[in-house]
């Protein structure tokens, strides 16, 4: 046998000759590592699905809404003059660089009637740029065109949920429906996006010029046509911050705001939201990992406990080995390798169990999970590190036993 192999085989024999004890020692590590893998994969999965959601809306999207930007609380500076207008949109399109398309829109809640079915839905009047800006696709039919927009043709593109509610499984393309005081013809159904806030699945899109025929679009004191929001896409995501700054100063001057006034609009770029969310979910993942890490630590203390007991129980063996010429480092190495071996094996089994758990979670449709190589490598090396760290003291104790006393022990 090769020399380097002997300590390994000794450790192996130590492990297999005490199967139950080895199993129980490993169990703590298995549970710890499995918990780390499973929880981290759930955290990573949540991050990935949120980011994918944002991705589907387009990370180059910038949305401008009237009123100051707040999360939850009261919107500041709400008043007669706080409004975004078609003219704002045109000015942005003409004066701000790095912009591919600008799409102002005006939304209104209208009653929809098809045969016996009726429902209320948010109807948004849009320009033809809207598809591109919002990254929308039709599942069926088509969008309306620039020509339709110019003529104010009464056409509608339905969100997938709206289509489901009004038409069920029947074909909706070419069907007519009543919308407020006008009759529109369905030309397209949007691809379902899922998504979170104000998902397009729940709305209806019609040409803004058509919407004006049933809903009076208000005008500001200056006679500009009010819109509900302006969305736009930037040509270079790197420049998103610059674009936001430029729009801010342009709108501030158009709205005649003094240097001390707050903005009467808010601008959110998807870039910003996505980095905010991925930071939040990253923190959550880290938190989950830390909680699981504690169980790994407890498992490590379990290893130390068992190794200390094992040293006591095998005092005589240590004495015999020393009498046969084992040096302190032979004994030390034997126990340390045994501890590392147990935690390594525990780590590997833990990875398999953790993987199985996250696979199970995914296949049950509870949550998306992502197991990445870095988590696996981290968990296994941490568990081996724990074995070495917590095995160190018992191994040192074992190596320092006096051979005469060790041989005398029962």
């Amino acid at each position: 046998m090769k020399k380097w192999f002997e300590p390994l085989s000794t450790a192996w024999v130590g492990v297999v000759t005490h199967k139950l004890r080895s199993f129980l020692t490993m169990l703590g590590i298995v549970i710890g590592v499995a918990a780390v893998i499973a929880l981290m994969s759930i955290g990573r999965g949540a991050t990935a699905s949120i980011l994918a959601n944002i991705e589907s809306m387009g990370t180059d999207l910038v949305t401008i809404s009237p009123g100051a930007f707040t999360f939850g609380g009261v919107r500041g500076a709400a008043g007669g003059t706080t409004a975004l207008t078609m003219e704002d949109a045109e000015a942005i399109s003409e004066q701000v660089p790095y912009i591919t398309a600008v799409a102002p829109s005006y939304s209104s809640n209208l009653q929809l009637v098809v045969g016996g079915e009726n429902m209320n839905a948010q109807v948004t009047g849009v320009t033809p740029e809207y598809w591109e800006v919002q990254n929308l696709e039709v599942a069926n039919g088509a969008f309306f065109t620039e020509y339709d927009y110019q003529r104010g043709t009464k056409l509608a593109v339905l969100g997938s949920n709206v289509k489901e509610m009004l038409f069920g499984d029947a074909d909706s393309i070419g069907q007519q429906m009543r919308m407020g005081s006008i009759i529109v013809r369905v030309v397209g159904v949007l691809d379902s996006k899922g998504g979170m806030w104000g998902s397009p699945d729940d709305g209806i899109l019609i040409p803004l010029t058509a919407l004006q025929q049933t809903v009076a679009q208000p005008r500001t004191a200056q006679g500009e046509r009010v819109v509900s929001s302006i969305s736009l896409t930037v040509s270079d995501e790197e420049q998103a911050d610059y674009v936001v700054e430029e729009i801010t100063s342009l709108l501030r001057s158009r709205h005649r705001l003094g240097s001390l006034d707050d903005d009467d609009f808010s601008i959110i770029s998807m870039e910003e939201i996505s980095s905010m969310l991925s930071e939040a979910t990253g923190t959550m993942t880290l938190l989950l990992g830390a909680i699981a890490g504690i169980s790994l630590l407890v498992g490590g203390i379990g290893v130390m406990n068992i190794m200390l007991v094992s040293v006591l129980e095998r005092t005589r063996e240590i004495g015999i080995r020393k009498a046969l010429g084992a040096r302190e480092r032979d004994i030390w190495g034997q126990f340390l390798i045994e501890a590392a071996f147990l935690t390594f094996a525990g780590g590997i089994i833990g990875v398999i169990v953790g993987w199985a758990v996250s696979y199970f979670v995914t296949s049950m449709g509870l949550m998306t999970t992502v197991v990445t190589a870095d988590i696996v490598i981290l968990a296994v090396s941490v568990s081996v590190g724990i074995g070495l760290f917590f095995g160190f003291y018992p191994a040192w104790q074992a190596s320092r036993l006096n051979p005469v006393e060790a041989l005398r022990s029962e």
Partner: protein, 222 residues
């Protein structure tokens, strides 16, 4: 081979000090077969542990093969035990979970590496080649002690120390063990020290050393 000069050994027992050896001076030549006799607590096991480099004396000097070993570090002592000394214990001291073969292998483990062929030779020498895969619990006391002898001699040490090797055996097995040991001594010229209570065994040796209260009180040549 072995030169003990005025060796003392004192164990601290809390506040009291227990003097076990009080000035032992002894010379053992290479190839000697020596019996050490004495009542319980006379210090003969302590002396054997010192000679076996399992322990170090409180004072005095100990030359093993002309090398002063009484002040060596624990690592150096381990090296001497690994290469020079084979131990045989009253209670056999085999590892219960290992086979006879693996136990004998352990004898070579710290002496430069295991050689399976020599392990089998050693087992054959003690007449246990057919029981190599049995665990100690599946062997009789005499057989277990023979495994222990094989473990001690597998690395070809110049010195074998046996601490009451027949103490836990019936008289027939005991005789077998003694005959294996004396044959080894005769054939290979191994220096053999034997602690025993049994006068019959002692008289099969060349020299008998009597110890009492930590001192050599008599010595006879057979």
């Amino acid at each position: 081979m072995i030169q003990l000069q005025d060796i003392t050994k004192v164990y601290p027992m809390g506040k009291i000090e227990l003097t076990v050896l009080r000035g032992i001076t002894l010379h053992i030549a290479q190839g000697d077969l020596v019996a050490i006799m004495g009542p319980s607590g006379s210090g003969k096991s302590t002396m054997l542990n010192l000679i076996g480099c399992l322990d170090t004396p409180t004072s005095g000097s100990y030359y093993l093969e002309d090398r002063e070993v009484s002040r060596l570090s624990s690592g150096e002592l381990a090296g001497i035990r690994a290469h020079k000394i084979g131990f045989i214990f009253q209670t056999f001291n085999l590892l219960p979970r290992l086979s006879a073969l693996a136990n004998v292998e352990l004898g070579m483990r710290y002496a430069g590496g295991v050689d399976r062929q020599r392990v089998m030779e050693a087992l054959t020498r003690v007449g246990l080649s057919d029981r190599a895969n049995h665990r100690p619990t599946e062997l009789s006391g005499g057989e277990q002690q023979r495994v222990a002898i094989a473990r001690a001699l597998v690395k070809n040490p110049p010195l074998i120390l046996a601490d009451e090797p027949t103490g836990n055996l019936d008289s027939r097995s005991g005789e077998e063990i003694i005959s294996i040991l004396t044959t080894l001594h005769a054939e290979q010229g191994i220096t053999l020290l034997l602690v025993t209570h049994d006068a019959n065994i002692a008289h099969q040796c060349q020299r008998i050393i009597h110890i009492k209260d930590g001192q050599i009180v008599a010595e006879e040549t057979v």
